[in-house]
């Protein structure tokens, strides 16, 4: 049925020229940019435009494993993820999109006593934040996932309230709710250059026209250094390819996301029944964004899964793909206004874990832009921290 014209104009992905002026221009139509736009739109009357070079979900937001966990090593990330989980639990009700969320927990297996000692410290911190993580024996791990071969492991860290989701509908939900409140979202609209007139603000030249904006938010993920270079700002984050695969759908059998800390292997069962998972394959550091899939990954993942759960040997893999982690030296994001470029805000460097963080980070990002509240992460994760050695390192970067 054709939609009324008024509604048609508000659709995401409008192919026409972007509006000539905006209060806030967000570069990047992933979950971070869309969620910031949505959170601004529900709290203000600012004119917000989202400029996406490709299509919504074309970057890491559409390529990740859909994990949501509170098992982190720093209090900042633990507490943020607790709040993000609550937002996600209400997402279907508030944003009117089913995100196929399932709170089956996360089970981290460990091979060495050294890893276990480190994880015990994380668990103590998580417990102080009221996250009910427990260190469990391999026997108990097998009670939770009977298919596991646990001989190589010395224990596991288990939090039953962690979850998996289907990532894509988050973007449709944020995009639809933002456009309904007046945000304009432009796909296939790369920003090619940015002028900074002496009077302040920014003039963004895109493939489809020019937007004058008071403030700019760089939420371009692994592409954020390229966007920052348009205002002569050098960012220290770099892209790292991570590969992932999906199997044929199986009847529900796997409760938690299962991960092996030492190898970076992770696997979960989505609400669609598929197993989705990846494993760390180290590559030399590069500034090139590589998204090709490799046979080497299929081999490594198949071996890892067959050792972990031999019964999975008969399961068929149907698809593999890759996505870019947006890496930083201390494992923490880069947020806030860039010193030296007034009005240019950063929201990047989320280390392949930005999807789960976006619902809560975007909320506080909007409150910060509106001058209502500044969350402590704006201080901890500011860009200039790298000059003085960085923040407390986050060690729970998996995949």
């Amino acid at each position: 049925m054709p939609l009324p014209m008024t509604e048609r104009r508000a659709l995401p992905g409008t192919a026409g020229p972007p509006p000539p002026a905006a209060d806030v221009a967000i570069i990047g139509g992933g979950i971070m940019g869309l969620a910031i736009a949505y959170n601004l739109a529900v709290r203000s009357r600012l004119r917000v435009v989202v400029l996406e070079a490709s299509f919504l979900s074309s970057g890491a937001s559409g390529r990740n494993g859909g994990g949501l966990r509170q098992q982190w090593s720093t209090e900042m990330n633990i507490r943020l993820m607790q709040e993000s989980m609550e937002i996600c639990r209400g997402f279907a009700r508030d944003l009117r999109f089913n995100v196929w969320m399932r709170q089956g927990g996360y089970l981290f297996l460990m091979r060495t006593a050294a890893t276990r000692a480190q994880i015990e410290r994380h668990i103590a911190l998580q417990n102080r934040c009221d996250v009910p993580t427990r260190l469990i024996s391999t026997d108990e791990a097998r009670q939770i996932v009977p298919q596991l071969v646990t001989e190589p492991f010395v224990g596991a860290s288990y939090n039953p309230t962690d979850a998996v989701v289907f990532p894509w509908p988050f973007l449709w939900g944020y995009a639809a709710a933002a456009t309904k409140r007046g945000v304009t979202i432009h796909t296939q609209t790369p920003v090619t250059s940015i002028d900074r007139p002496g009077t302040g603000g920014f003039v963004l030249h895109t493939a489809r026209g020019t937007v004058t904006a008071g403030r700019v938010v760089n939420a371009a993920g692994a592409w954020s250094p390229r966007v920052a270079a348009l205002v002569d700002l050098a960012l220290p984050d770099w892209p790292a390819r991570h590969e992932i695969l999906s199997t044929e759908p199986l009847k529900p059998f796997l409760g938690p996301m299962v991960s092996v800390l030492e190898s970076g292997l992770y696997v979960s069962q989505s609400m669609r029944g598929e197993l989705v998972g990846g494993i760390t394959l180290h590559e030399p550091k590069t500034h090139e964004i590589k998204l090709g899939s490799r046979l080497a990954f299929l081999h490594a993942m198949a071996r890892g899964l067959a050792e972990l759960m031999p019964i999975l040997g008969d399961v068929k893999v149907v698809r593999q793909w890759a996505g870019p982690y947006d890496m930083t030296a201390d494992g923490n994001p880069i947020v806030g206004e860039a010193a030296g470029v007034p009005g240019f805000f950063l929201c990047c460097g989320f280390m392949g874990h930005g999807f789960m963080m976006a619902p809560v980070v975007a909320k506080y990002y909007a409150l910060h832009l509106l001058g209502k509240e500044t969350h402590p992460f704006f201080s901890t994760w500011r860009l200039d921290r790298f000059a003085s050695g960085g923040a407390e390192p986050e060690s729970m970067i998996i995949g």
Binding site: P12, G13, S57, A175, R294, L295, H299, A302, L312, D314
Partner: protein, 97 residues
């Protein structure tokens, strides 16, 4: 086209689903794949891609020749993990893209 006609048999995506995706502003094959889930099942779009592309074109009012297919993903056909697990590692194979 009957609204409940199934275009993607792996993921039960109907003509109505595709029209709805186009109505919500998603007008490329990559976007409709992600909005509806079509082409993400065991056949990976080998049965349904052309049919869905025609449905997108009809709903969006554009020639089907203006649409690009989605990125093909390996493996070519579903394969058991055990075969990959025991095969020799492709150590000297070109590792990229």
């Amino acid at each position: 086209m009957p609204r409940k006609l199934i275009l993607c048999r792996c993921e039960d995506v109907t003509a109505d689903d595709v029209e709805h995706a186009v109505g919500a502003g998603y007008r490329t094959v990559e976007e409709v794949k992600r909005y509806t889930g079509f082409g993400t099942g065991p056949c990976q779009g080998k049965e349904c891609l052309a049919t869905v592309a025609r449905a997108i074109a009809a709903a969006a009012g554009v020639p089907v020749s203006t649409l690009q297919p989605f990125t093909a993903r390996s493996p070519l056909a579903p394969i058991e993990l055990k075969h990959l697990a025991v095969a020799p590692a492709p150590s000297d194979a070109p590792a990229d893209d």
